[in-house]
Symmetry: C2
Subunit: 219 residues, 2 copies
């Protein structure tokens, strides 16, 4: 279905979550050529009739392929050119998305096609197309955002500050100092989250205050 005047427009999605303190990205096994049988980031073709925006394309594709509604989608950039897809001149617009860590299981269970969460910082397989570079770019943007804002959309509806810190550490790939981390929360992010009154996480130790995103959750 080559079209010489108009290129192929697709979206690809780097969907991240954190599981066992490791940053994971979702991969799918391709069913069709090119690269049939290989793994790649999930993606799909823009359908101008159905999708009002590319962001809608992302929502539709992820709904259809892995039955998930995404709380946050943002654009990373385009990967384009005459040769990156053997079929045609192609433009793929890469998007970044986050999945709350307590929804990981639900997603994998509903598999319509083979999907797998892999370690995003050390993927254990080759990726189709230029998706290895895409993954790098998406991680770079995710880290950038994480240093400036907070990955609240990756956490459960209620979470402890330690949980939040662990998620940031997994994203940034390095340990953070507890005291400095909490000081930053108070200084820069007091508006973004709030204590849940009277709600505590209990364990074998001192209970931890539960928090939730405030109305204007940034990321």
């Amino acid at each position: 279905m080559s079209n010489l005047l108009h290129p192929l427009v697709t979206v690809d999605i780097a969907l991240f979550t954190v599981e066992s303190q490791v940053l994971k990205v979702l991969l799918v096994k391709r069913l069709t050529d090119p690269f049939a049988g290989q793994w790649s980031l999930p993606g799909g073709v823009l359908r101008p009739h159905e999708d009002a925006t590319l962001c809608e394309t992302v929502r539709r594709v992820m709904r259809d392929k892995v039955r998930v509604e995404l709380p946050l989608i943002e654009e990373v950039g385009t990967f384009n050119g005459a040769t990156r897809d053997t079929r045609d001149w192609s433009i793929s617009v890469l998007h970044l998305a986050l999945l709350p860590m307590d929804q990981v299981e639900a997603l994998v269970g509903e598999r319509v096609l083979a999907v797998e969460w892999v370690d995003a910082l050390a993927p254990d397989r080759e990726l189709a197309f230029d998706h290895a570079e895409m993954l790098e770019r998406a991680i770079a943007q995710l880290r950038c955002k994480c240093e400036a804002q907070l990955p609240l959309h990756m956490l459960p509806a209620q979470f402890t500050l330690t949980q939040l810190q662990r998620v940031c550490e997994a994203i940034l790939g390095k340990p953070l100092d507890k005291s400095a981390f909490r000081r930053r929360l108070k200084d820069l992010h007091a508006r973004d989250m709030e204590e849940v009154p009277g709600a505590f996480e209990r364990g074998l130790q001192r209970p931890a205050q539960l928090w939730r995103p405030a109305m204007s959750a940034p990321m």
Copy 2:
């Protein structure tokens, strides 16, 4: 020329320079509908036969429309959707480009169509399409880059540190402290530029050392 399966793919370019210590952006007067007669950022349609990448599209469009070769082009992001262009579902990929401040005159002289440099921080006219938002995004990215790197591509081949500071100030829209600025140059950008041995800018005062970008000019 509506095409229901494939959207219209275009590029738009926010070309910046600094003139009289003011950040300027290049606008063109549209010759054709939609928005004929209105001003907008320069742009053009992807031609898959001619352009190997979208970046090539940008080069071709700017060569054809305003007879200029651009030393630096980078992607800002896409503006897309069913309704942003009245003709069709459209994707425009916005690009940021810099023109050395000593080439401003040459460009305006060669006008094939009406072009004009306007104050980028306070444009004096309405822009077609969603180009006002595009301009905002481009400025934001330019400022981000300027805080992390140096806008060397906006300067002449040789320049003084004071000139460099003035350009940064124009981009950031605020005055910078001379001492702190130079300390940052030494600390972070020692690799990006080098003194031109024995070359000085002379005036009514102490001569100023001339500098030039090093091999690996970042921006």
